[in-house]
Symmetry: D3
Subunit: 115 residues, 6 copies
């Protein structure tokens, strides 16, 4: 099992657990989160790219992996993803570099999965 598969399994299991808690505020937050990336005035695929860069400057590997998964599904190329990550690197500084390493590794894992 790759670390991506581990992450997806853990994420799915814990999201189910969290929905099982049945806290209305938390459930509504999750729905709002999903809705934020649907097509609207901006295309969903552009918003996934925004989510990726926001995750990178806030330095959250799980969030980066989630949005990379969506970005690859949405058809963004490696070069476009690197160009987005470069914006995150310049805005967020060298403290982002460990997350850039993680992101580039995740992109490589996603391309292997897609073969």
């Amino acid at each position: 099992m790759t670390r991506l598969e581990d992450f997806r399994a853990y994420r799915e299991r814990m999201n189910e657990r969290i929905f099982g808690i049945d806290h209305q505020g938390i459930r509504r937050f999750f729905n709002l989160d999903t809705a934020a990336y649907r097509d609207g005035p901006l295309e969903g695929r552009v918003k996934e790219l925004l989510g990726l860069v926001a995750s990178a400057v806030l330095r959250c590997n799980d969030c980066i992996d989630y949005h990379l998964d969506q970005c690859v599904d949405a058809g963004w190329s490696d070069e476009e993803l690197y160009d987005a990550l470069n914006v995150a690197l310049v805005v967020g500084g060298s403290i982002v570099i460990p997350h850039l390493r993680h992101a580039v590794e995740t992109i490589d894992l996603l391309r292997v999965e897609g073969e």
Copy 2:
């Protein structure tokens, strides 16, 4: 003088002062920063939107104003900018709200300037 004009004047004056310092590292960083938003694998206008959302989740009003200025120049509509800011709000939480207020006010000021 609007607060936007004040900000632009201060920004220009201090950037000149910083270039006058002539620290090679700082000067190269500024050039790298400018270069990050030029057309590349991603269009510059998409990268300005990434810069806006990164600035919003990192909660920097000056950075928000700078990128909104560029985003409006690049032709993004109010509805598209609000949709990008909504991603920042969901990712960054209610702590982003004061910066959302600031951003919406800046968009209004920019549209008045453009009339």
Copy 3:
């Protein structure tokens, strides 16, 4: 006009402007935010204190002022508020001190208003 009155007027004006934008995601986020502080398994007044400490460690003066306003309305005493702010100071470090100054000044302003 005190800075608190200025803040409340600006906040109200811009919140109306933001509701006027009529972005469904943003509007729902604002509703979710309001709902998070209502009585539930925890009393609303305890949750206002949680909101205050979260605002202090994230270093947002507007958010601190908003929650202090609510906390004073909810009947927390000065000593209790200082004790909560002390937790924020220890968790968040000396970088929180400028916001502690702001918070203590706000509490003083709120008590003058209440006289």
Copy 4:
């Protein structure tokens, strides 16, 4: 050994190592940190809840686990802890979600321990 037991063992071992360093500033900081959660104008158990929410919005899993341990000892119910975590989620945004997953898993582990 569960991940909670691992964490407690590592935390205890390294805290001893840090006390062994005998840096007066660091030792005093640790004492100050402990003292911040004792009964005062606010009850210690309320301050543990404040520490939990501060840890969640600052996105530190070790800190979340430590405060959840204390919160469960202090008698907070699952529903009360979820309600506190919902405040953290709304204040801190979706970037908090991976830490919410971690926190909910920790609560489940703590309840198993308590059986």
Copy 5:
């Protein structure tokens, strides 16, 4: 009155107010904070430089001004301060730039005061 003089007056006034609160935890934190920059294994003047860079990457203008005041008193030259700020810029990214502008302006104000 320059903005530095305003800041020092406000800082002194509110610190007195905070000491007046007489919360033992807060008072001890302030003492610990002062002690951290005294000569120890590292010279105090090096630790002021560390405080400056920490303040810059955490993006707190008041903290930057305070540490710059101390750094100039400790005899650091403009070129040395710029070199330290460059480290902050590279680590923290372009989001630090507004604070770099502020810092450079503060250094200029401090040199005028010193004339």
Copy 6:
């Protein structure tokens, strides 16, 4: 293999992969990052200490390990490193403690390597 050796191997492998991407902005950022710690108006060894404290307050374990490695090479003693970390602890608060544990463990690992 210690966790330090794992980290260095991963860091080297991924840095090569990132250079292989051949994105001009990213490559220039990496060069700028390296250059920031060379001797200039401030000695390189002082700037490594600044990098360490910046990494600690921004709470990045990989960055802490990297700078500790450089700091030990530059001849800083354990007591000097602890004194720098104490500044980070006071500025950044108890949320830094898990990273202080990590840092102290890393220093111990580095000294074993150096024997």
